[in-house]
Symmetry: C2
Amino acid sequence: MTMEVYAVFPDKIAQRKHIEAEVKGHTANSRRCLPCASDGGRNRVSSWGGAESSLQGEDQSLAGAVSPHTSGGPEEDMELYLDLRSQPCRSVFLFARAVGIPFEFKLVDLSKGQQYTEEFGDISAVRKVPVMKDGGFVLTESTSILKYLVQKHRALVKDHWFPEDLQQRARVNEYLSWQHLNLRAHGSKVFLLKALFPVVMGYEVAQEKMEAAVEDLNQSLRLLEEKFLQSRAFLIGEKISLADLVAIVEIMQPVGVGVDVFGGRPRLAAWRDRVKDAIGERLFDEGHEEVMKTSGLGEEIKSSSQLGEFALKFRKLFS
Amino acid sequence: MTMEVYAVFPDKIAQRKHIEAEVKGHTANSRRCLPCASDGGRNRVSSWGGAESSLQGEDQSLAGAVSPHTSGGPEEDMELYLDLRSQPCRSVFLFARAVGIPFEFKLVDLSKGQQYTEEFGDISAVRKVPVMKDGGFVLTESTSILKYLVQKHRALVKDHWFPEDLQQRARVNEYLSWQHLNLRAHGSKVFLLKALFPVVMGYEVAQEKMEAAVEDLNQSLRLLEEKFLQSRAFLIGEKISLADLVAIVEIMQPVGVGVDVFGGRPRLAAWRDRVKDAIGERLFDEGHEEVMKTSGLGEEIKSSSQLGEFALKFRKLFS
């Protein structure tokens, strides 16, 4: 199954250094450790979760027993098509890893436009990541993937992630709906205008547009604090839920391009630290490693065969 | 409780003619019929559902027995803050009415900027409709309200609306997530540019922008057909679900301003007819009456004290 990755995305064999580094301590025969290609096991693009995995995050209390759904061989692991520079990919990645759901990591490099390949189109007509493939069942949209994982792995996922309680669940759903056209839309826009617009278009975006985008982001952050977080430990209550993961990955996108989101927002910074603690700082940092070093991204995009495609989209989005 | 509506929105007493007309046959003492203000019962702004209600829609088979959750007096009815010219308000309205969940209709007239009043701000800091108030529990975001209603009224709501089945539920969640930044964003944009932009800004939008917006809408409609509807009767399967309601209300928005969405799309037109049949044509038309006569909307907005606020928002959105 791993070979499929190389067939679809042949230039990715030498990437994902952080995952390479992480897998060193993992035994090659682990049933959740996927077979490697032709490099003696050093250049894996696969990842996994599982209660026994050393990669699971520091707060092991978040993971329970291994679900019966995942007790088969590695051939039963679901596949996640991801690029960790994408926020929704990170929320799915962090959740699966934090609770210990095994998966095969299929890299779709957005900076190379691999979402536009014929091969990826066969997997998803929407041409966006993340995509989950669980047996023959293909699912898009990060929030629906997260809820699918909660429902499928009930024995593994503690209630606080997506509470059964009527009002608590409604609060998680409310956040997951609200964020699309607010924190997600506004954080993404600032990221795209700062990190990618100059590379793709060849000039800086007008100052007025940048200021308006930052103002929208500030408005979303204000609502995040005042409506959702309030004086609680996490967005929905005293324990972490899907809402916190979906929120933090969006916030880290503008942070990655130098926006000082947490400056002057001590309540938000303290919440971020609690999210880190809850899933484990090591896992948190692993998930955000690539978005925190976006300096190389410009060069990757410039040399992409899809540069024209990007420029068309940017003109439409921002003109 | 009904007085609250008049206190918050005093100029709405004489509105909602279609609801006034509908309530005539309803006895004033019905426990779900709310007390009227000072007009002898003719000018209600309240509405309701319930298996015994004549307003329930033609396909009564969609409603079951009255849920134990709703068996109290009228003081226990939840409140829905709505403007039926808003798509998400319509999905909540149509669902509650189709399955027979009692509620009190609280009108928030968006064309008058009533979402910006201090009173409405006390109900929801987000300043958007719909808002649900169930006892002391206030919930925003239409899709979370819909799921709350499904979970609370399990005995009343048949499984097909939001199936318990893992994959079927995932498909509904996938659609409800996808639509935010696709059909909803694109349909709304065409509606705003066609119906409101000229009134608010004083000039027509540039042809190029309108064409780009229509192209985006067409792309969303193509995905709606090819990815979601396919050759099924409804978006998720052979029966109606929340996804169909959330989709149809978005499509009817550009239809209301003269965009020929169904022309050349017989599969989509047949699906719309099945949605109408499933909830009842009378209810469908009632929910869409106001958006199908947007000709008067311009005048309402022009005379609104919030015209400046609208202009600021439009400049930001579309410049």
